[in-house]
């Protein structure tokens, strides 16, 4: 009775989930779907040709020596004459080879090619998911989803499905062949397959679970091995070799242990599945004995059926093996679809303000102008955490240079992210020239601003790429011109390493400024770097503010008071609210005094 509980209810429901996910996976492979019908035909041919070949061999040997030995097929009234000669056999062999290759390649290559759309859907979802989603999930895990799960789906995923289909076709053909010997024997393959499926449904979840554990354990063992390689001198200096060695052996032992257990599972499955196929083979043999004695069965057919039976175990086990990977494919697919199905970043906002789609279109290509006004605005980085900006009321007048100051955690950077709608909008509204930013399409809203980020990161690629971004048709003169404006001289086609490691922070900063000049937006947001800026960049920023950015609204999140002297307005924030605002001449001395007091105190 314990045997009944061998598979838990959760495992059964997981299996049902798997079927759904796999169906979605296959139907999302567009190219494969298009070639599915011819592929299935080729798969059937590939499975059927070798048994036919054997049968022809039998016929040929049967009428050995007789000239004009031939086989006549009656296909729906059409008589097809196949000469039983050596050249026919060679042709059939080549045909079988062709079909086998075609069956696999058309399924798996088309499948692999189509998986590009899954990746692209994932990236698409990434580009409109909530920004805070990236804070909540470690980047390693996300990359693993976007790349690891994808590459499993790309190769192993498609293969597991393709091999299963091919295996099923082979089982079908063997069943049909045995049916020729005796219909009952042929029909018996159905319960045998059902028993396989039953056994498989017991084994597969355990196998894939064991594979998961194995991956974890091997990972742990590798961490410890890395300790040994990298930290060997440290461990030996502090006399902790033995502890390390014990930990390594424990981790490694665990990983090998699960590997052994996995093999045991496999052997166990191999035994029981083998016994099922052995039992079936014995039954088929019984029918053969019966058929031969009652002269219902020719020796040729008997020999061909026996050949199939000799191979039966391999076919069944191959099928079971392929099917055991379907569970994994399903779990990779489930993770990929989870990424694809993530809600759009504005879903949460619409709960605060209900915006209909037609309203969005109206403002799609409009360029905004006017004051930026925060009207009792509140936001948080998670839906369930306290507000970071709370009932913020502040106006940033058009065309002015505005510096925002405040301590760490006052909400300076949050202000910038709020303008870009990257956070959980909890209350109030933000308007730009009487237009609420929440009534706009996110992409067109974001395209209103030019930004200089705090960390001037450059992307892998050329300088040109980093400068021009998604702008098209920008001439080299224009690009070189903006570079000159910020005082840089660079080869546009020079390669940039990841993050711009091969350029100094100052150069990267200037490049970001050049991008700003090139874009020529009405609103400019600058996040000052916390570490001291090098003098050259500082001078260029001041000059740009005076000249190129003269008529723009410039909002600078300032970390140093010195750089704010030329500004029109200073806004000091505290605890997510406006503390005070005024011209620099009034505000800066106040703040200087306050900090001095604190230091003395």
């Amino acid at each position: 009775m314990e045997y009944k509980n061998f598979v838990t209810a959760e495992e059964v429901s997981a299996e049902q989930q798997n079927v759904k996910t796999l169906t979605r996976f296959v139907s999302s492979l567009t190219l494969l779907r298009r070639v599915m019908l011819p592929t299935l035909v080729v798969i059937l041919f590939a499975a059927a040709t070798p048994p036919y070949f054997l049968w022809l061999v039998g016929e040929m040997v049967d009428c050995y020596g007789a000239s004009g030995c031939q086989v006549v097929h009656d296909v729906f009234g059409w008589e097809i004459v196949v000469p039983a000669t050596l050249s026919t056999l060679v042709m059939i062999t080549v045909f079988a080879m062709f079909c086998r290759v075609a069956a696999w390649t058309s399924f798996e290559l088309a499948g692999q090619w189509s998986t590009q759309s899954i990746q692209s859907d994932m990236m698409g979802s990434m580009s409109h998911v909530r920004t805070t989603f990236f804070d909540e999930n470690p980047s390693g895990r996300l990359i693993n989803r976007l790349l690891g799960d994808y590459s499993m789906l790309r190769l192993e995923g498609v293969m597991s499905v393709g091999d299963t289909v091919n295996g099923l076709a082979e089982v079908l053909c063997v069943g049909l062949l045995i049916m020729l010997a005796h219909p009952v024997a042929g029909m018996l393959i159905v319960p045998v397959v059902l028993m396989y499926v039953l056994l498989q449904s017991q084994l597969a979840p355990m196998m894939s679970h064991a594979r998961e554990i194995r991956a974890v354990k091997i990972g742990e063992a590798l961490h410890r091995e890395t300790d040994l390689i990298e930290g060997r001198t440290i461990f030996s200096l502090y006399g902790k070799q033995q502890n390390l060695l014990n930990r390594i052996q424990k981790a490694f032992g665990a990983s090998m242990n699960i590997q052994l257990f996995y093999c045991r599972l496999m052997s166990w499955g191999m035994l029981w599945m083998g016994l099922i196929s052995a039992f079936y083979a014995i039954v088929v043999y019984g029918f053969i004995v019966y058929g031969l004695h009652n002269e219902l069965l020719s020796i040729t057919l008997a020999a061909v059926v026996i050949t199939a039976v000799f191979n039966l175990n391999n076919i069944f086990f191959g099928l079971a093996w392929d099917m055991s990977f379907l569970g994994e494919t399903a779990s990779h697919a489930r993770r990929a679809f989870f990424m694809i199905d993530l809600p759009h970043e504005t879903t949460q906002e619409s709960a605060v303000r209900d915006v209909s789609a037609c309203e969005l279109d109206r403002f799609a290509s409009r360029e905004l102008s006017g004051d930026i006004v925060f009207r009792g605005y509140g936001m948080s980085y998670r839906d369930d955490t306290p507000l970071i900006l709370n009932d913020l009321c502040v106006t940033i007048p058009a065309g002015l240079k505005v510096g925002i100051i405040g301590r760490t955690g006052a909400g300076k950077s949050s202000l910038m992210q709020a303008l870009f709608r990257m956070v959980y909008h909890q209350q109030g509204d933000i308007t730009i020239g009487d237009q609420s930013i929440f009534d706009m399409d996110v992409t067109s809203l974001r395209s209103q601003f030019g930004v200089v980020p705090q960390d001037p990161y450059l992307f892998m690629g050329t300088i040109r790429f980093n400068l021009q971004g998604d702008l098209h048709d920008v001439s080299d003169e224009t690009l070189n011109g903006v570079l000159r404006t910020v005082g840089l001289k660079m080869d546009l086609d020079a390669q940039v390493l990841e993050g711009g490691k091969d350029y100094s922070v100052g150069e990267r900063q200037l490049l970001c400024l050049a991008r700003l000049v090139l874009l020529n937006k009405k609103f400019v947001l600058m996040d000052e770097p916390t570490s001291s800026l090098d003098r050259r960049s500082d001078e260029h920023i001041q000059r740009l503010l005076r000249n190129e950015l003269n008529d723009k609204t410039v909002i600078t999140i300032a970390h140093r008071l010195e750089s704010l002297d030329h500004y029109d307005l200073i806004i000091e924030m505290a605890n997510g609210r406006l503390l005070r605002q005024g011209p620099p001449s009034k505000i800066i001395p106040l703040i200087r005094n306050k900090y001095l007091d604190e230091q003395v105190g």
């Binding site: 061999v57 050596l86 290559l109 998986t115 040994l228 060997r232 035994l271 052995a278 992307f459 998604d470």
Partner: protein, 622 residues
């Protein structure tokens, strides 16, 4: 080895499965435990170092014989099944005889499945044993080695050695056991029967069965060479996606998401094109070798026709069944050859590692004196030069120096002056190329640092913090203590001293927080402070600190220096930042492998011509 009961009892299998998922209390299976014990008994150094394959065969001769036996039994059982089937086809007249043969066949079938499952299990056992066999020996060897001078053994190479090289060797042996051995035994046991049945046509058919091998070998090679290309494409893609995920805000500020999507899609496309090519060739290879079994049959019939021999249908089919058994394994032979090529390269690398010198090779015979209570008080550096293996340039040039181990000593100098090298020599990480370092004990006894007992005693006396912070991918607590058996309060004290307490206050799990691979979850400054905490936790009497504060901000640096000057231990500190060094007792300035200045920092500061004061001024202006 003969644990067959497992096959009969699925509930037991399930129970064991649930046990094995229990991470905390990992029970090792009896087979593996035996293997571990077996390895512990031997001296690992003796066993490896000669011919690996021979070592392997010698160690596992019992296992290998059992495996061969099992495979041979399978081939014989197949032969019996073929003969029984032949008899059934021939015995048309006597129903009793036919059913007798059927019964016989049934028994053979069932025995075959049992033997097959057992052999498969046994074979996996060997696969696991090979990996254990090599890995445990490599582990011990690595611990016995000091600093690795050879470029062959960079960290990356060693990681490959441990993870993929060992696996490949195991995989090759597994391949031989699974496919090579059955193929060979099939030929030896079934081959003569085929030849006896069919005569020369049988020989020809067997020869034709090997016909797909050259093509498979070539295609397999192609697939193998493509692997690096695909790996590179995958790496590129992962860099770009990594950039995306790490800079989401920036990308949204710039509105570059569609641009990045195009980039990613282009890379995915390139990857898929390469992968499709590779997989396509692979499938052609498989397709041809899977259907190749039809050709020997054609050859058999052709040869019969040409030679004018005539076989009855039953004999012909019996030969086909046996041929099929052999061809089933032939298609894996090219794989074995290809994997042999890479496995033997891996074995060479592993063997080279075993030939690498150990620390013990550098040690000189022990003194005859009991040093257990003696305390080192001074280090005498005598005409020491150091030159890295494979280079010509002396990094240290004839340095002579006496270091008082109760003082606070600081060391400065430009990049490449040889500071880190000197530090490593002083804490006996490396042995000087020329000259000597001697230890003076409070008993007045003075002798070479590299004497076996002095080395051990002195290494237990110092705490060394290397320039590159080392972090293990585990919890913070273990990183500080390097030990699973630490007490939290001691670790916390060290953490307080290293100014890390405020940092871990933000972490939910405190000392149990995972630091991630190479400490990715920590900032550069935090990593350094964890390393400092480790040195402080060790309670060693003298600390050698290689640029411990380069990545911490200036406030923390100042207070850490204060802490350091309060600890009772003497230390040797090497630094790029000069302002905090005023508090030390003595200061050395190094340039180009030599010590150019030596004195009290305050005195050096007051002397406007000293290198230290020059550098100090230059630093302040910048």
């Amino acid at each position: 080895m003969f644990d067959l009961a497992i096959f009969g009892n699925p509930v037991r299998l399930k129970r064991e499965f649930l046990e094995i998922t229990e991470v905390s209390d990992q029970k090792m299976g009896p087979e593996l435990q035996a293997e571990f014990d077996h390895i512990k008994e031997e001296n690992p150094e003796i066993l490896m170092g000669g011919n690996f394959w021979w070592d392997f065969v010698r160690t596992y001769k019992v296992h290998l014989s059992f495996l061969t036996f099992g495979r041979a039994v399978l081939a014989i059982l197949l032969l019996v099944a073929v003969l029984a089937s032949e008899a059934i086809l021939n015995d048309k007249n006597s129903l009793t005889a036919a059913f007798g043969f059927l019964g016989f066949y049934a028994v053979v079938q069932i025995v075959m499945k049992v033997v097959n499952a057992w052999t498969a299990l046994f074979q996996s056992q060997i696969f696991v044993n090979v990996r254990t066999f090599i890995t445990l020996r490599v582990n011990v060897k690595l611990l016995n080695m000091g600093q690795l001078s050879s470029n062959d053994f960079s960290t990356g190479n060693l990681k490959t050695l441990i993870s993929s090289d060992v696996y490949r060797v195991g995989e090759f042996i597994h391949g031989v056991a699974r496919n090579g051995l059955p193929c060979l035994l099939g030929l030896v046991i079934l081959g003569p029967v085929i030849v006896y049945n069919m005569g020369w046509p049988g020989v020809i058919a067997m020869a034709v069965a090997f016909g797909a091998m050259p093509l498979s070998f070539l295609l397999g090679k192609y697939v193998h060479t493509k692997e690096n290309l695909i790996k590179k494409e995958e790496d590129d893609l992962s860099t770009i996606i990594g950039e995306w995920v790490a800079n989401v805000r920036l990308l949204r500020f710039l509105g570059w998401e569609s641009l990045m999507r195009t980039r990613v899609a282009a890379h995915v496309r390139r990857l898929v094109i390469e992968a499709t090519k590779q997989h396509g060739i692979n499938l052609i290879n498989f397709g041809v070798s899977v259907t190749w079994w039809l050709f020997p049959i054609v050859a058999l019939i052709w040869a019969n026709e040409v030679m004018g021999t005539q076989d009855d249908l039953v004999t012909l089919f019996a030969s086909i069944w046996m041929l099929n058994h052999i061809t089933l394994y032939i298609r894996w032979l090219p794989d074995i050859f290809i994997s042999y090529a890479s496995a033997s390269a891996c074995v060479n690398r592993i063997n080279r590692l075993f030939l690498h010198r150990d620390i013990s090779d550098d040690l000189i015979p022990a003194t005859q004196i009991d040093l257990s209570l003696a305390v080192p008080i001074r280090l005498h550096v005598k005409n020491v030069s150091y030159c890295y293996e494979g280079t010509q340039r002396d990094v240290l040039k004839n340095i002579s120096l006496v270091i008082d181990l109760s003082q606070r000593l600081s060391l400065i100098g430009s990049v490449g002056a040889g500071k880190s090298t000197l530090l490593k020599l002083l804490c006996a990480e490396m042995k000087p190329s020329k000259g000597q370092i001697e230890v003076e004990f409070d008993t007045g006894y003075q002798t070479d640092l590299w004497r076996e007992d002095v080395y051990k005693h002195f290494r237990g006396f110092i705490g060394y913090m290397p320039q590159e912070a080392y972090l293990s991918n585990t919890t913070l607590g273990i990183n500080v203590a390097l030990d699973t058996g630490h007490t939290d309060s001691d670790v916390m004290r060290a953490i307080q001293m290293a100014e890390l307490e405020a940092d871990i206050g933000h972490w939910e799990r405190g000392l149990l927080e995972e630091v991630g691979e190479t400490g990715v979850n920590l900032s550069g400054g935090q990593k350094q402070r964890v390393n400092l905490a480790r040195a402080l936790y060790s309670g060693r009497d003298y600390l050698v600190l290689d640029d411990p504060l380069s990545a911490v901000d200036s406030d923390t640096e100042a207070s850490l220096m204060l802490t350091l000057c309060e600890v009772p231990q003497g230390f040797l500190l090497c630094s790029h930042r000069l302002t905090e060094l005023k508090q030390t007792d003595r200061l050395l300035v190094m340039e180009d492998g030599q010590i150019i200045e030596d004195g009290k920092p305050l005195e050096l500061m007051q002397n406007p011509y000293s290198e230290f004061s020059k550098q100090l001024q230059a630093g302040e202006v910048a």
